[in-house]
């Protein structure tokens, strides 16, 4: 059976991961099990991907209806937390996980707080009373370890100006500049789920890597988890574009002191040394406002919220007018104090 459930050894109820204690806990009798101590039930048996066509709940026997990417969910009939083992084994076995640190209630509170802080969002949105759903989801990420060998060659100038007599002299010194740099990056995250928008996931960073744990399936109990849609090789170009600005900024930092710099050669050789498949915690918030659905994502550890909220034209206009008016008044006052006319 490729469906794994977590039954309480005391009372037989379904156990869930508790974000506050970080343990597998039983809602019925209160038993709490440390996850690090228990051996992953997934490892007892090995499964092949795509082995099962249908999944049945071990508790009630109902069909478990899921997306093809889902690897953990709850039974829609009896609510038991189930893990679809064949989607977390073999090639698809995650090596790391960051568990949730924020519970559903905390996530909702944090989201409401975030909505209240919106400066240009409509008033009706700020009350945050139209939350359609909050779903805790483990999103598949690749954490890349990258080694970069960089060689740059360029032309730099240093400029000095001075005046002598009636002339202003501009003295430009030209230099041939060469740098060889080794630049290594650890755990650069790239989301591997097709469903998740990249720009949303990128803004959720940083994830606290101190909380990174060896993967153990009970962490998923009670949450939804996805399996990766793209492997580490398919996403390699994306991680390269992601670190490109970091590399450029590092190169810039090594040629300080030049007034201008133009590169004739910039060789960046990026090698993928290692990529860890990790599941990172994200609260997905679906919200209805004016008959339009909005999707927000919240970092399940830090509580950082990202996503495009609706923008109130009136508030934008008010801020614009207010700032412009105050600036104009300030400038007028300064000019008036210096003796210029007020109008």
């Amino acid at each position: 059976m490729p469906v794994v459930e977590y039954k309480c050894p005391n009372c037989g109820s379904g156990m869930n991961f508790d974000s506050a204690s970080g343990m597998l806990s039983c809602p019925s009798c209160g038993r709490q099990d440390k996850i690090d101590d228990t051996s992953d039930p997934l490892l007892v048996q090995t499964f092949e991907e795509g082995e099962a066509v249908e999944y049945h709940c071990n508790s009630c026997g109902a069909d478990i209806i899921t997306d093809p990417e889902t690897s953990a969910t709850t039974c829609s009939f009896c609510g038991s937390a189930v893990v679809l083992a064949d989607r977390l084994s073999g090639q698809l076995a995650p090596s790391k996980v960051i568990p949730f640190a924020i519970s559903k209630q905390q996530a909702e509170q944090a989201f409401r707080k975030w909505c209240r802080g919106g400066l240009v969002t409509p008033k009706g949105f700020m009350t945050a009373d139209r939350i359609k759903s909050i779903t805790g989801m483990y999103v598949p990420f690749w954490l890349y370890e990258l080694n970069n060998e960089i060689e740059v060659q360029g032309h730099g100038t240093k400029v000095r100006t001075y005046t002598r007599g009636d002339y202003r002299y501009t003295e430009t010194q030209h230099f041939e500049v060469y740098r060889k740099i080794r630049l290594n990056y650890n755990k650069v995250p790239v989301d591997a789920s097709e469903k998740m928008k990249d720009e949303l996931m990128d803004r959720l960073e940083p994830f606290p890597y101190g909380q990174l744990k060896t993967f153990n399936s009970p962490y998923l109990a009670g949450y939804i988890a996805e399996k990766y849609s793209f492997d580490e090789k398919q996403l390699f170009p994306r991680v390269k574009t992601k670190i490109a600005p970091f590399i450029n900024s590092y190169i810039q930092s090594t040629v300080r002191g030049y007034a201008s710099m133009s590169y004739s050669r910039k060789d960046i050789d990026t090698r993928l040394t290692h990529a860890d498949y990790a599941l990172l915690p994200v609260w997905m918030v679906h919200y209805d406002y004016n008959n339009t659905g909005y999707t927000f994502a919240m970092n399940g550890q830090t509580g950082k919220v990202v996503g495009k909220p609706p923008i109130s034209k009136g508030k934008v206009a008010a801020w614009f007018g207010g700032v412009a008016a105050v600036t104009l008044l300030t400038l007028k006052t300064v000019s008036w104090a210096m003796g210029g006319g007020f109008l």
Binding site: L119, V120, T121, G156, D166, Y167, R168, T170, E171, T172, Q173, H174, F175, E176, V177, Y178, K180, I181, R182, L183, N184, Y185, N186, V188, D202, R203, L204, E205, P206, P245, F246, S249, Y250, T254, K304, V305, V306, G307, K308, P309, I311, V316, W319, F320, G321, G322, V323, A324, T327, L328, L331, K332, V334, S335, A337, M338, G339, G340, G341, L343
Partner: protein
């Protein structure tokens, strides 16, 4: 009876005191066109303008044109005129030496403070083209108006500072408003809080080799532009022989 006659007497006395004074103020001669550069109508018009603007700044705006038969230095003409006629007064004087085609602008007391050398330079540079072209009345009118305008700005500031321009103030306000709003809208969706150091393994990263080879030096020179209105000139304050400090700007036209 006694009271009303006393009132009448008083009124008469006040009238006698006030009327000639105000009449004098209106008639105060401020244009001394000894070289005959202006028509009588122009003299009248400029005199009226000088009186009106001067009253607002408590300063005598004076214009002297001279054929300079004694061949005195133009600044000396200004200084001697001041010492003779209005020692200790607030005055801004424009002197034309038609013999040597020199013009001198001087500020005394309040006008020295408000019309410092650099401000007088600006005014002189502004009117020199008109002087060279022989449009004396236009140049003098400009001198009166600009001196009056500049005296409205506190000393030490550049009166032509772009900060004083309304269009500039409006442009800055709108730009700042737009910037603030764009940042707000842009950041409403959450912002990127990672930088290049977030994932960098600084322990194993670094510059392995570097070379900075000096190639050559190129030097360019540009002439520093001088504000030489009509050719030759410059500023300078100083003292009159009567011991009055002045600001100044002089040049040829």
């Amino acid at each position: 009876m006694r009271r009303s006659s006393l009132t009448a007497m008083l009124l008469l006395l006040i009238g006698l005191l006030v009327l000639p004074a105000s009449g004098l103020a209106a008639d105060k001669q401020l244009i001394f066109d000894e070289a005959g550069l202006l028509s009588p109508e122009e003299v009248q018009e400029l005199n009226a303008l000088a009186n009106q603007l001067g009253a607002e700044r408590q300063t005598d705006f004076i214009i002297i044109t001279s054929s300079n038969t004694e061949n005195k230095d133009v600044a000396m003409i200004t200084n001697d005129f001041y010492d003779e006629n209005l020692p200790g007064e607030n005055a801004a004087i424009l002197t034309m030496d038609m013999r040597n085609r020199q013009v001198d602008l001087g500020g005394f007391y309040l006008a020295e403070e408000y019309l410092d050398n650099s401000r007088l330079d600006k005014i002189r540079n502004g009117i020199t083209p008109a002087l060279s072209a022989g449009n004396y009345a236009d140049a003098f009118r400009e001198f009166l108006k600009e001196s009056h305008r500049y005296m409205g700005y506190e000393p030490g500031f550049n009166p032509d500072n772009i900060l004083f321009q309304t269009w500039f103030q409006v442009a800055v306000s709108l730009a700042l408003g737009g910037l603030v709003v764009s940042v707000m809208v842009f950041r409403s969706g959450g912002r990127v809080t990672i930088n290049r150091q977030t994932y960098e393994d600084s322990g194993s990263s670094g510059v392995l080799a570097h070379r900075d080879t000096y190639l050559r030096t190129t030097t360019t020179k540009t002439k520093i532009p001088r504000n030489n209105g009509g050719g030759g000139g410059g500023g300078g304050g100083g003292m009159t022989r009567g011991g009055h400090s002045r600001s100044g700007s002089r040049g040829s036209f």
